[in-house]
């Protein structure tokens, strides 16, 4: 990996079709900067994108990438990393992709703790299908499919990750470019599953969870000198606090051991001989 990679090397020549002002611009820029800052190269990076506005990121970034089916981006990322541990794997999707249709995979990806990064662009709305409530929408949020509110609790992604044994749980805000980049960078550097929920406002369909709302309400745990992200009790308190919004690295397990290491995954599985492995007849002899 060359050290002179610039973040623009991760940019493709396709112009994004996101709405002007969409939070995803900032989210993506931070991801590209974080990848460059951590010494990665587009040819050694694999991005997996889900379905939704956020899923378009694979097109706007330059790297090896797959834009898959709705909700299944995480297993694809785990498969890539398992097969070739030398690759930097980053999975990106939205709140619908990650916490609704893909919620099952989210929990299991957290448990597995594969060394990869998962960035969720959380705008608390379904944008690409033009404005239905999402799993993170507030209970009183009125949309085309929830004229009287959703009548159900929003999902708390950080709590879900904590309960599943998450080893790196963070939250950022797409318009706080510097902090967002820094947090994603830490997620990349984390030895295990680096999970970042990014507040990435939808300027078209969500007039509640707006830039102004997050700007006014966000508390940065990084600015609190007494906050220790390796203390699960403090993390729990922040994660379960329904009154405020937080950003920063909320929890980090310093003893995290990633799945690849535990499974002994070190080799590039793409390297195989042109015939059966040398000692393959041993397999036949086992059946005597």
């Amino acid at each position: 990996m060359s050290s002179d990679v610039r973040f623009t090397d991760f940019k493709s020549d396709k112009q994004p079709t996101w709405c002007p002002g969409c939070g995803d611009f900032g989210t993506m820029n931070g991801m590209m900067k974080a990848l460059a800052n951590t010494g990665n190269h587009p040819d050694d990076t694999f991005v997996v994108a889900g379905i939704g506005c956020s899923g378009k990121i694979g097109t706007y970034m330059h790297s090896y990438a797959l834009h898959g089916v709705h909700g299944r981006a995480l297993p694809v990322g785990i498969g890539v990393k398992a097969a070739n541990p030398d690759l930097e794997v980053m999975v990106a999707g939205g709140d619908g992709d990650g916490y609704s249709i893909g919620a099952g995979h989210f929990v299991h990806a957290v448990r597995r703790n594969m060394d990869m990064t998962y960035v969720v662009m959380d705008n608390r709305i379904y944008g690409l299908t033009k404005g239905q409530f999402s799993p993170t929408s507030r209970e009183d949020f009125e949309t085309a499919t929830s004229p009287d509110g959703t009548n159900q609790q929003p999902v708390n992604p950080l709590a879900l990750a904590m309960a599943a044994g998450g080893t790196f749980i963070a939250q950022s805000f797409s318009s706080d470019a510097q902090r967002h980049t820094q947090i994603v960078q830490e997620a990349i550097e984390h030895d295990g599953f680096g999970f970042v929920n990014v507040y990435s406002p939808c300027v078209t369909f969500n007039d509640v969870d707006t830039y102004d709302y997050f700007r006014d309400s966000l508390v940065d745990v990084g600015e609190d000198e007494d906050y220790d992200p390796t203390d699960p009790d403090q993390a729990e308190e922040v994660i379960l606090d329904g009154e405020k919004e937080y950003q920063g690295v909320i929890y980090r397990d310093p003893d995290s051991r990633d799945y690849g290491e535990r499974m002994g995954l070190t080799e590039n599985m793409a390297d195989i001989p042109d015939g059966a492995p040398e000692n393959a007849m041993d397999l036949v002899r086992e059946f005597y």
Binding site: V69, V80, A83, N268, A270, D274, A276
Partner: protein, 587 residues
């Protein structure tokens, strides 16, 4: 066929039926005899009738028949379940000291051998060995040297220490001696042993071994009967070759994990059964449209829905051919024997990579649970070839870049096969997507590009049709007017059915078809025949429909969907009946 012996042990699930049967099968194999096994089992851990059946002969055996010569019955129900197969002179070994077996009535004309299995086992060191006592008793009845059990017992119990092994050997001898002393000569069986050395394995194991041989290094799956043995075989073995098995949280994850590994360049596979194929259908389309090589194995069982999870059926064919929304290029390959499970797996990986197309490898419960003997040369590893297709490395990458230096993973080439470069290759970075895409793998709705990409994906199939060998396996009399067609595991039963038919001077031409898509053109064979009979384990005749569609000719159908595979003698009767009359026959 006096040397052809049909043997079974039956009892309740949890009685160790399976491992006992396997020990006897291995002993027969060690003695240079051919073995073909089948299982009656229920989808539960304990309780319920279960049996392990063995057919053994000096010549190769490839089917079960409707006949049972020696039965070890641990329960009354074991006798009841097998009344149709038991015959005059059949020997039933049971433990009359067992309270539930005291009133066992031996059907007229059969020979009951009351052997105190539990008591003798305790004498040898523990009641747990009562099945092995029964094996010893069976050896005596079959005229089979008990010494051959020793090696099989070593294989089964070796890890538990020498004492356990020798106790088991003792248990077998006590059983044998008891029968010899109490009953003298029973029946006139004398199993011939030979110097041949066979291996004994089932279809799932053959698929797993084929995968490793072919260079598969990644497997993800979710446990499901009857495909789980593929995963269990690979676990602990594939790692020795630098690979890994991941047990996924569900089948949706399994196929997407496999997709990820395949995109990273590994030869990757998942295996499941019908319900899992249902769940994988959406991603299957993604695999095909992103032109990712992958092998997806469907070990079919009885459906629909949960159906009969431990029963045989070939009911998934239509789904495998047509499943998924939109039009999805694919290959569908169905091995017809246990050893073919190995070779077709190797072939499936080559097809997948040469044509960057997903391959359905279709097996079924009968193949999965059948342990069959083969000479080890049947699995000649030197004959395994690995063809990775159009893999482009860093040196060749420029050839496949556009004027802006961008790699073109979906280049619309003449034969439809695009260049493929693996992540980590300098200059090869590219995306791909389940959206319709251009040569660069980027989303498009341009009408010309859409048509170009659809055509090029279809062209790969046409190219494969021309370049590969899609022939059927032919048996019987090539000049016969009677043509029998089948696919999948029916081959063995049909080949043996032909021997029964020959005894009645009925000759048929039999084509066993392993390729369902693309498939061999059967028009000439059908046209040359007067009667065409299609044999398959489903109710509607899915393969028969295909044959009629391809050849514009009506065929007769022999279908079985009661959950049990065809038996050779039963199938012979069905064929005879079909030849004599009607256009629709149901077993």
């Amino acid at each position: 066929m006096t040397d052809d012996l049909n043997w079974a042990i039956g009892g309740e699930a949890g009685d160790g039926i399976d491992s006992t049967g396997k020990i006897f099968a291995q002993a027969l194999s060690r003695a240079g005899r051919h073995v073909f096994t089948s299982k009656d089992f229920a989808s539960r851990i304990r309780g319920g009738y279960t049996a392990y059946k063995i057919r053994t002969a000096v010549d190769p055996v490839q089917s079960v028949v409707d006949r049972l010569d020696i039965l070890i019955a641990l329960t009354q129900r074991t006798v009841d379940e097998n009344m149709d197969e038991l015959h005059e002179g059949s020997v039933i070994v049971y433990d009359g000291e067992r309270t539930t077996m005291q009133d066992l009535e031996i059907p007229e004309g059969m020979i009951g051998l009351d052997v105190p299995l539990k008591r003798l086992a305790e004498e040898a060191g523990g009641a747990i060995m009562r099945n092995v006592v029964a094996l010893g008793a069976a050896c005596e009845v079959a005229g089979f040297p008990v010494e051959y059990l020793d090696e099989a017992l070593e294989k089964r119990f070796g890890e538990k220490g020498e004492a356990i092994v020798s106790n088991n050997r003792e248990a077998a001898r006590l059983g044998q001696e008891h029968v010899a002393e109490e009953y003298g000569e029973v029946g006139d069986y004398s199993l011939e042993c030979t110097d041949e050395d066979y291996v004994l394995l089932n279809g799932d194991e053959a698929i797993g071994m084929g995968a490793i041989a072919a260079g598969c290094r990644f497997y993800a799956g979710y446990p499901i009967t009857p495909a789980t043995d593929v995963m269990e075989y690979l676990t602990g073995r594939i790692e020795e070759y630098g690979g890994a098995v991941i047990q996924a949280e569900d089948e949706l994850s399994a196929i997407n994990l496999t997709l990820g590994a395949a995109r990273a360049g590994a030869r990757a596979m998942t295996a499941t059964s019908g319900p899992g194929i249902d769940l994988m259908a959406e991603t299957f389309g993604l695999v095909a449209t992103t032109e990712t090589p992958m092998v997806i194995c469907d070990v079919m069982r009885s459906g629909p829905s949960t159906g009969m999870p431990t029963k045989q059926e070939q009911g998934d064919l239509n789904m495998l051919l047509y499943g998924g929304h939109g039009e999805i290029p694919r290959f569908v390959v169905a091995p017809t024997t246990v050893s073919e499970c190995f070779w077709k797996t190797v072939e499936a990986f080559n097809l997948a990579e040469k044509y960057q197309t997903p391959v359905y490898l279709v097996s079924d419960l009968s193949l999965a649970v059948t342990e069959q003997t083969f000479p080890p040369e049947e699995f000649d590893m030197d004959a395994v070839e690995v063809d990775r297709g159009n893999l482009v490395d860093a040196e060749a990458i420029e050839e496949w870049q556009n004027e802006k230096g961008q790699f073109t993973p979906h280049a619309a080439t003449e034969d439809g096969i695009s260049p493929r470069t693996l992540p980590g290759t300098p200059g090869g970075a590219h995306m791909t997507t389940g959206l319709e895409h251009d040569e660069l793998g980027r989303r498009t709705e341009d009408t010309d590009v859409r048509v170009e990409q659809v055509d090029k994906r279809q062209r790969k199939v046409e190219t494969a049709r021309e370049r590969e060998d899609w022939s059927y396996r032919e048996f019987g009399d090539p000049d016969s007017d009677a043509l029998v067609l089948s696919w999948g595991s029916n081959e063995g039963a049909m080949r043996e059915a032909m021997a029964f038919l020959e005894e009645e001077d009925i000759s048929v031409r039999f084509l066993s078809v392993p390729y369902l898509f693309p498939r061999t053109d059967l028009s000439d064979a059908v046209e040359d025949a007067e009667d065409v009979i299609v044999v398959e384990c489903n109710a509607t005749g899915q393969f028969a429909d295909l044959v009629e569609h391809d050849t514009l000719t009506r065929v007769k159908r022999v279908n079985k969907y009661d959950g049990v595979r065809f038996k050779a003698d039963e199938l012979a009767r069905e064929i005879k009946e079909a030849l004599a009359e009607g256009t629709e026959v149901t077993a």
